[in-house]
Assembly symmetry: C2
Homo-oligomer: 264 residues x 2
Amino acid sequence: MRSIAVINQKGGVGKTTTAVNLSAALARNGRRVLLVDLDPQAHATMHTGAEVGSDDLSIYDVLIRGAALGDTARTVGDRLVVIPAHIDLVGAEIELAGRGQRETVFGRALRPYHDGFDFCLVDCAPSLGLLTINALAAVEEVLIPLQPHFLALQGLSRLLETVTLVRERLNPALRVVGVVLCLYEAGTRLAQEVRDDVVRFLAAAEPHAPWFGACVFETVIRRNIKLAECPSFGRTIFDYSPNSHGAADYLALARELAARGAAP
Amino acid sequence: MRSIAVINQKGGVGKTTTAVNLSAALARNGRRVLLVDLDPQAHATMHTGAEVGSDDLSIYDVLIRGAALGDTARTVGDRLVVIPAHIDLVGAEIELAGRGQRETVFGRALRPYHDGFDFCLVDCAPSLGLLTINALAAVEEVLIPLQPHFLALQGLSRLLETVTLVRERLNPALRVVGVVLCLYEAGTRLAQEVRDDVVRFLAAAEPHAPWFGACVFETVIRRNIKLAECPSFGRTIFDYSPNSHGAADYLALARELAARGAAP
Ligand SMILES: Nc1ncnc2c1ncn2[C@@H]1O[C@H](COP(=O)(O)OP(=O)(O)OP(=O)(O)O)[C@@H](O)[C@H]1O
Ligand SMILES: Nc1ncnc2c1ncn2[C@@H]1O[C@H](COP(=O)(O)OP(=O)(O)OP(=O)(O)O)[C@@H](O)[C@H]1O
Ligand SMILES: [Mg+2]
Ligand SMILES: [Mg+2]
């Protein structure tokens, strides 16, 4: 199972849109996909129509009460299973703070399911707090959605410091698989310049850096109103508007990601 | 002096772009404006070219070391003064946590300057933490930039709970002046539907609510690549691209805000 955390501490850059629609695209291409929502905002949960009532179990119960991941699972499409989040997660970081092995509770909960899926994607909150650290400690790959605007690189540097720290202390297998440009305004100089900056930045990586070998995906996710509309229907882009640019871009990203394969 | 906090805990919705360009627009219309950067990311500081070196004073020194606000001031244009932020602010919430009157330190630092300016705008981080609480405790008005996308209303409700709490416990004069729709994609159904939802929501306010009387501004800030480009030059939209839609929209917003006037 390839496990991928979708991470960027900057808000509103396309993490959830990517986690949801890339998962759906991989499932359409025949892979069995597990999508884990690790954000107290539970946006990925809402995007896929997987909301939980107060009597249902969510990732909160897995992290805090030792529930089995499988007991929370929601099948939302062919080959696509969601582990829902819940607003209770807001308190999870504080509740976990006092416990031993608090950075690895998610990874341990995920372990029994490695044979059940081809891909596991984890949607993270715009934060580098304990929940996101749990994601980084549990996966092998990091995918970074980035909006090609001013200061995108500054945020990237800070994120990569955290990835390096987690690799050194908790998860030696961790590596950055790549950066995907989201909310891309084709034809603008700004998007092209930021893209060039990120390409240069990654190319300058030293061999021991966790982003050595990471790429900027050829596929960019263009700005497309359909991608902003489908969450309110609890659907992925493929159920909402399969002929849109949004659908085409995420299908292309899924193929590119699958081709880049697991760590060499 | 009208004091206005620019607030939304959601990331990337146009807070800084609004704080900076609305400040600049008000200054162009003849008002004396103080723009305070209360975000450790210091984006408003960078947008206006007001970066501080490690030897300079910033809002961090005002909050933590008792420096005078005036000692940090940077004049960045006619009638436009910036109080810069610095990455050190990242530690400010923890350093303030143990102190008495920790929610009102900013308000007290601002008080001596009320006669020196017509408007004070405060740019806040995407968070409802202690720095943002300091902003809410110090100002009389709240301006909420909102991206007309799915779940915008959900974030708004949570923000208004915090405004209510601060009004009850710290600042009885606090009120919401309005919501300004940012990153508005004209001609899309989504933008119109969310706008209608927010209008309905505000119209349903009870008389004792801090958003009673708040409006959705007629002026919307349209998506305009020039607004995304000018920060990298350390310029406001008026110095970078005065004939753009971005400049026109913020000038219109400034007139509308000035006309709505202070509390009745
Ligand atoms: N390519 C796109 N075209 C149009 N709208 C998009 C696109 N990608 C994302 N959006 C919209 O932009 C907003 C932010 O995207 P999204 O929620 O995926 O970002 P995020 O990084 O997960 O945000 P957060 O930091 O709050 O978790 C959402 O309303 C989403 O529907
Ligand atoms: N109307 C607009 N048209 C085009 N780009 C915009 C517009 N408004 C903001 N942007 C760009 O979108 C990005 C997010 O905007 P901004 O930084 O103002 O949001 P924010 O709410 O302050 O974000 P944060 O939560 O990180 O503080 C920035 O790169 C900005 O330049
Ligand atoms: Mg998200
Ligand atoms: Mg900002």
